[in-house]
Symmetry: C2
């Protein structure tokens, strides 16, 4: 991470006056004015990483800088700021994520290291901060508020109380508390959330909200409690209500959610839309490589009818005011020189910038990071996958209750989350044959076994049945399993499940495909079982290869099967969830017995 440049005021002032030469002059550009709107021809002089002067043509310009870049009439905009994202979703280490994002014009991100926090606690977040320092862009961190998401029904690798939050908030580059998801806890002044938020309020830190659908008195209570933003809005009216009460709204177009249409409609319905900024939330490696980052969301907003200067303002200036970044998000004297040179404003979502600067330093040019092809990211080898409870294939057998006779009534997890979202959704069950004490699945095209096993050495696992997953043979195992990231295995036979689980234990986590009791392919994610040290192109190729291997075991075309496997254990959603401790109903966290 580039720290903020330390300003030498004497040099800045003298450079502005033309008394000493600047380091860099970017001239012959159309400057995107995100403060009062519009574009104007001009030139920017930079010294010590800071903008000393913004000059209009024929203003009797002082001498140019030591280096002069001819912008050839391209647009010079501030670098994009991402108001909310999880680096872990890219499966890249922060170091290589930075190199992958900066080519799209992103120069600052505020990250929620919630996933690694669940796996490795404060140590994991310290890794994110250290890895980020090796990246070309500015990566700030928010302290994850919900580790684990539902302490009563699952066990993760760490548990954050107000103490841990307090320790994190006192670290450099930790700006506040990340998406405060437990909005019911907040609205009912639950003691744990009260204490965690209190640590943020004490420090006047940023309190990031997460309040899907919240309205009326609950919204008032949530805002009165402290959270300042929301990135979960689905409709124009939801945005209007929230923004009108001073809540910052993060327009989002991630790999798994897109509210750009609602955000654009809301922006058009509001007289002043400075409450709207941009976040990417979850972007997968392949999308980051092919579709972009904050620019992709800005492009989506343009597609939905906003003009590019407004979309850029949302992705720069509005984001900076959300966080109180006085020195970022605009092109003006005294601001840090985070800049992107854009060939056009009409293709934000498609075209990479001609060049990108962070604190006046060239970090990307013509779509490639400066400094050559990225290599493997630095990380400390530590295997976080510990499965003492898995000793043989039999440990994946679904054992029926002793007295059940020849058939058992088993709970079925529906992998189609859209079906689970119906408000009267309840657990489905299936009567399945029992042989030798084990529940058998006769139609593996329709149903498969699912196991969620604690992977932090605490032992324990839950085995049930899954529908609508689409696996026809073998096993898919993953250590990406939100939010606790235990081991989730979907399988048709115990031998394949065992092979995949043991492979992931051996390599320190990742995603593994096995068939006939043998490993077919493995995506190694040795950093907490979540991230790869590979650069984005190589990782994307590995994902492609894994998906090819997986498609051999599948019926139908489920492009999101990896994602689907990773959210079956997520308790922060409605519907039926399977954790390392059992099967649970997400709406009220009540237990559901596997067998009737």
């Amino acid at each position: 991470m580039f720290v903020m440049p330390k300003k030498n005021r004497t040099r800045l002032v003298r450079a502005a006056m033309g008394e000493i030469p600047c380091d860099l002059t970017i001239e012959n550009v159309r400057i995107v004015n995100v403060i009062t709107g519009g574009t104007f021809p001009g030139r920017v002089d930079i010294i010590d990483g800071v903008i000393a002067a913004v000059r209009q043509p024929n203003s009797g310009d002082p001498r140019r800088g030591a280096t002069v870049l001819d912008g050839k009439n391209a647009f010079l905009a501030p670098g994009f700021i991402d108001t909310h994202m999880h680096v872990e979703s890219t499966m890249l280490a922060p170091e290589n994520f930075g190199k992958a994002a900066v080519v799209w014009g992103t120069t600052t991100v505020v990250t929620d290291p919630h996933e690694i926090g669940n796996v490795a606690g404060i140590k994991g977040i310290e890794f994110m901060l250290r890895s980020a320092e090796k990246s070309p862009l500015r990566q700030y961190v928010l302290a994850p508020s919900c580790v684990p998401a539902a302490p009563s029904v699952e066990r993760s690798g760490a548990c954050f109380t107000a103490d841990e939050i307090s320790r994190l908030l006192d670290r450099e580059n930790v700006l506040g508390i990340a998406e405060i998801m437990d909005y019911l806890g907040v609205c009912h002044d639950d003691a744990r959330m009260h204490a965690i938020i209190g640590e943020g309020l004490k420090r006047c830190a940023f309190l990031q909200g997460h309040a899907p659908g919240l309205s009326g008195k609950e919204l008032c209570a949530y805002l009165a409690a402290g959270p300042q933003s929301d990135h979960e809005c689905h409709s124009r009216d939801e945005i209007l209500e929230k923004a009108g009460l001073g809540m910052r709204i993060n327009a989002r177009a991630s790999s798994i959610a897109d509210n750009a249409k609602a955000a654009a409609e809301a922006a058009r319905s509001m007289r002043w839309n400075d409450m709207i900024s941009i976040c990417t939330d979850d972007v997968h490696a392949k999308d980051l490589l092919k579709s972009g980052h904050v620019n992709h969301v800005a492009g989506r907003l343009v597609e939905e009818g906003l003009d590019p200067v407004l979309a850029i303002r949302m992705g720069t200036y509005n984001a900076a005011t959300e966080y109180g970044f006085a020195d970022l998000g605009a092109i003006a004297p005294g601001k840090v020189a985070d800049l992107q040179l854009l060939g056009s404003l009409e293709n934000l979502g498609m075209e990479k910038p001609v060049s990108v600067f962070v604190a006046g330093k060239l970090v990307a040019e013509n779509g490639a990071p400066a400094g050559g092809k990225p290599g493997q990211a630095w990380y400390e080898q530590e295997n976080t996958v510990k499965l003492p409870q898995i000793g043989s294939p039999a440990d994946f057998d679904l054992r029926a209750p002793e007295d059940c006779g020849k058939a058992a009534n088993v709970v079925v997890i529906n992998a189609d989350l859209a079906e689970q979202l119906s408000p009267d959704y309840r657990a489905q069950r299936a009567s399945l044959p029992v042989r030798n004490g084990k529940v058998r699945i006769d139609d593996p095209e329709r149903l498969q076994y699912i196991c969620v096993a604690n992977r932090y050495g605490a032992g324990g696992r839950t085995i049930a049945v899954v529908s609508n997953f689409g696996l026809t043979s073998g096993a898919l195992a993953t250590t990406i399993s939100h939010d606790s990231h235990n081991l989730t295995v979907v399988y048709t036979d115990s031998a394949s499940a065992f092979a995949a689980a043991k492979e992931l234990e051996r390599v320190g986590g990742g995603i593994c495909v096995a068939k006939d009791g043998k490993v077919v392919d493995t995506l190694r994610l040795p950093i907490g079982g979540l991230m790869s040290p590979l650069p984005v192109e190589e990782l994307a190729a590995e994902i492609d290869r894994l998906e090819d291997a997986l498609s051999e075991l599948r019926s139908g075309k489920r492009d999101d099967v990896l994602l689907r496997a990773s959210v079956l254990a997520l308790p922060a959603r409605p519907g039926v969830i399977i954790t390392d401790r059992g099967v649970v109903f997400g709406d009220d966290l009540s237990w559901i017995p596997v067998f009737d």
Copy 2:
């Protein structure tokens, strides 16, 4: 001053949820939404001085508060915030200023105690803070940056170096550094201004600018050095250039300056005009009583074509963002309940609010401060007027050089400042007869004597001749004499000058009119020779009486004669200036000999 209410989050959240009753419900109002624009019908619930909920009609409202105010369909807006003002200009103590301003809907002011700072140093500013605590509105202070304005040519009662600024910045309710007027010093990185600004930057404090006409490289240098705002813009284009570079612009309609037309034109020319807030700068007691305060500026902006919701946003939300007041400037859950109930939005500049609340407490109703008629303000009796060098009327004689013969060529200060503003303006001179060693004025309708005497006990005085002042007999003496507030006397005869000066020494300062060697009337300003302990109505009546007395000694109708007398010694302006140390040319602070 009301301090910020300490939020009890549990009570706030429970009140928002309707689980406990609020203190106050204001219902049946049209809420002015300054965040995203517009007005909407609704109700506001307040507890512990903080807004717990903003509810729309028929939203299944929880029970109402212990007190219920029926707004009768009036408009509920946030209280006004004044971004820059000098309480001393009102001649009221902060305690009584607060009572006078709050009836116009002002609930927060950021003041520059520059005048009392010049008179009494840090002790004077401490008085302002303590007096403010007795007032019903929130009065923050900025540390005056230029005490005295021109140390090389005048002596005031105090001198602030970076040390004093540092001590002030560490005090509660001191938010930053006030109007940094020495823009040439800033642009040339002068050591004193560098050190003073450094104290602010060190603390991330607010740095208020003052940069009349600054443009191009000097503007860039000034912004790069740190100042964030300007209230001296005169034209649309000046505002566009400054705001486009991120400078906060304070629209102003004071008793002595009005840029509302330029501000409104600029606002219409900018796509986003959130850089524009409102300040009153210098408002005299009579104007405060009759024309209003921030509302007057908002009204002027409406007269110039802006719509009232935008004008209110400038006077509330934009001001709050300028200072980073996260809890002020809007009506939303968690914000402090600073509110004004307005009968209409069309008469901002004329009509007083129906009621005004600061932190949920009623502070004004139907144009009168709550708690009854204000009395005398508290202050500590201390006479700051010390004139050891004035012992007899002869001390006001203008003594000619010994060798000058029967006539002397004397410098003439032109009291018409507009004439002095011409760029090639130079000192005027007059050849006047000398009798008994004294310069005589034969035509007292055209020329009078002027004396500026140090009034802090250091001795020293300068006597010269003034034109275009309009006094025909007697003397006008004042201890309001910007920025050092020495004693300025304009007179036709030494006996009257002596009588007036000695009267002001006796009463501790103020403004005195004398004739034929006798005092005719005195406006006592015993608080630093600048402020009266009287409430605004009584002070306004005293000013009327003094002006009547003064009009007896004047030719023509010069309504601003008191102001005119108070700026002849101001070195921070172009033209010819008289200080306690001599006559000086303001543009370059070079000395001008009184006699050729």
